[in-house]
Symmetry: C2
Subunit: 345 residues, 2 copies
């Protein structure tokens, strides 16, 4: 009888033994990770993945995900962990190829929720054209972490012609600033879900891979710079860009796409949507002559249908981000000092 | 006055804002991570590191570290996170080159303890010849994780002539099994430290990078297989090797190096040292004709001074690990079912 209870527990929740490196770990790896991530380098089941990469310029990145709640409208921590790392690579101009996934799981976490997370990671990886080739699982005692944390790292290959993008060295006064859609959805979706707020029009996270959209644009447009606008939102990306280029930025509030529902929640709770996190938004800087083309390419794709030119790079005399407000004022955008919304990713 | 208190707190403990991606994050990155990890790809301060690698066979690995306590005799979570990932790469026969480090920190964690961890990561990376080129920091509310978790991922390059090592395809009956020193020290050091046990001869973790030792051996010895004996200990590595090769293994208990202090603690608490975690031990399989040479090379180095031949690969008829005990019996070694010691790494 006891044995049966143990076996059923074993199937329904994560035990400390699932992180031991022993039999239960092997069962978990086979029944969940190998099953869904299924690819040749992973299947060799060594601690390290052996990869053959036909390029010598490599992009390498990592991000830890601690989002609360683990499941939110439009995604979950697993989808987020894949998209986030894919996007970090894609915005350098590189093609994301391989991901690692390291799980820290609280003892007692439901097995089927873990599988749901892993299934969505596999689906998102497939969509972005990347393989999850190596991983790790640790289980900590109940109360020693909050349900599940996932750290993904990624490797991509960078074509020489895109090497300038990450450093923003080609940005020039007059270049246009483009964003591929409405801002603030991820942050407000997670916050609403965490606080169990219900609205007429529920806000969904924009969590999604940007690689296809970015590739489509970069094939036809000489992009000067791009960055995904995650923690800290659009404003933080642009403030950082100013710091890198020593060039000013002028933003037109009226052209910045923000959904009415997001704007409404932000107003009620006192958030500035320009600082709220996104997980499927890229900020691009392109020469003015190409801005219409870039926007058209984006608008032809689902993840870019609300793309818009929202401002431009100005001169060197005032290397600041100036927001031209709807009411005709000007506002200097600075970096956030503290934390606006913790555990948003 | 309030402002002063805030500033002092700000310096002495980690705040949620240090994980925001805003100003405090930037300060933390500059004052701790960039300061100590100081290297060119990291200094570019983009989310992803751009690397030029002159080899197309890449090894990619990841591991999450949740060790409790964070500081233990012989090391801390940071040293462990660097050594562990360096070793996972080194045992494939590859040269570790680049590491990422992703931190999940509990709000209120002492700033100087974090710096201490980062300093030891930098020192260990230097020793192993790797650069920590990219990273991430998340801060979660007090009580939502246990002090600090670190996930490191690593990239290395693999010379063609070592490609067989990870797969163990060259292991032949008669090959000798070698270990570079005494077993069980890491597990018993962490457990003793966690439970605040005090002994006459304190046990220190063997936590250390194995790359120099492995390179020294592989330059002169055609290694058939190697693996670091971490979670699950020596026994788990050998049981996995049996599964991969379908060959038996015969171990001689009398030749397996185990420190008296570790043996004593294991006896008192009922642990089998062959299953206890190590963090600086490699298990190597080499052709019999090279075993003396391999042991000599190891013994000439500090991290291999107690190296010994501990057994050999036997035939296909019984693909099991058999331990020939000191008292003349035989014991079949199997994989651990559950967790012997949680949060050992």
């Amino acid at each position: 009888m006891l044995h049966i209870i143990y076996m059923e527990m074993n199937k329904s929740t994560i035990l400390l033994g699932h992180g031991s490196g022993g039999k239960l770990s092997h069962e978990l790896i086979a029944s969940v990770f190998l099953k869904h991530f299924n690819n040749e380098p992973l299947m060799r089941s060594t601690d390290s993945a052996l990869l053959h990469i036909d390029c010598n310029d490599i992009v390498f990145t990592t991000d830890g995900y601690v989002v609360d709640p683990v499941f939110f409208p439009g995604g979950n921590i697993g989808k987020l962990a894949v998209c986030g790392t894919v996007n970090d690579i894609a915005v350098t101009g590189a093609q994301p190829l391989y991901l690692s996934a390291s799980f820290i799981i609280e003892e007692g976490f439901a097995f089927d929720r873990l599988e749901e997370i892993v299934v969505s990671m596999a689906a998102e990886a497939k969509k972005a054209g990347v393989l999850i080739v190596t991983g790790d699982t640790k289980v900590v005692n109940k109360g020693k972490c909050d349900k599940i944390f996932i750290t993904t790292s990624g490797v991509g290959v960078l074509d020489k012609k895109f090497k300038h993008i990450a450093g923003a060295g080609e940005c020039r006064p007059g270049d246009k600033i483009i964003v591929n859609g409405s801002l603030g959805n991820h942050g407000m979706a997670v916050m609403s879900s965490r606080e169990q707020l219900h609205y007429h029009t529920p806000v969904e996270s924009d969590c999604g891979s940007l690689y296809s959209l970015i590739r489509a644009v970069t094939e036809e447009v000489p992009v000067s710079f791009m960055r995904d606008a995650t923690r800290g939102g659009l404003a933080t990306v642009l403030v950082e860009l100013c710091g890198m280029t020593k060039l000013g930025i002028s933003l037109d509030e009226e052209h910045i796409p923000i959904d009415d529902s997001v704007r409404g929640i932000c107003e009620v709770f006192g958030f500035d949507p320009l600082y709220v996190a996104n997980e499927g938004k890229v900020v691009m800087v392109v020469p003015a002559a190409y801005s219409t083309k870039a926007v058209q390419i984006m608008q032809s794709m689902a993840e870019g249908k609300d793309a818009a030119v929202i401002g431009e790079i100005t001169g060197t005399e005032k290397p600041r981000v100036i927001l031209n407000t709807v009411v005709g004022g000007k506002r200097i955008m600075d970096m956030l000092a503290g934390e606006q919304l913790p555990r948003i990713c």
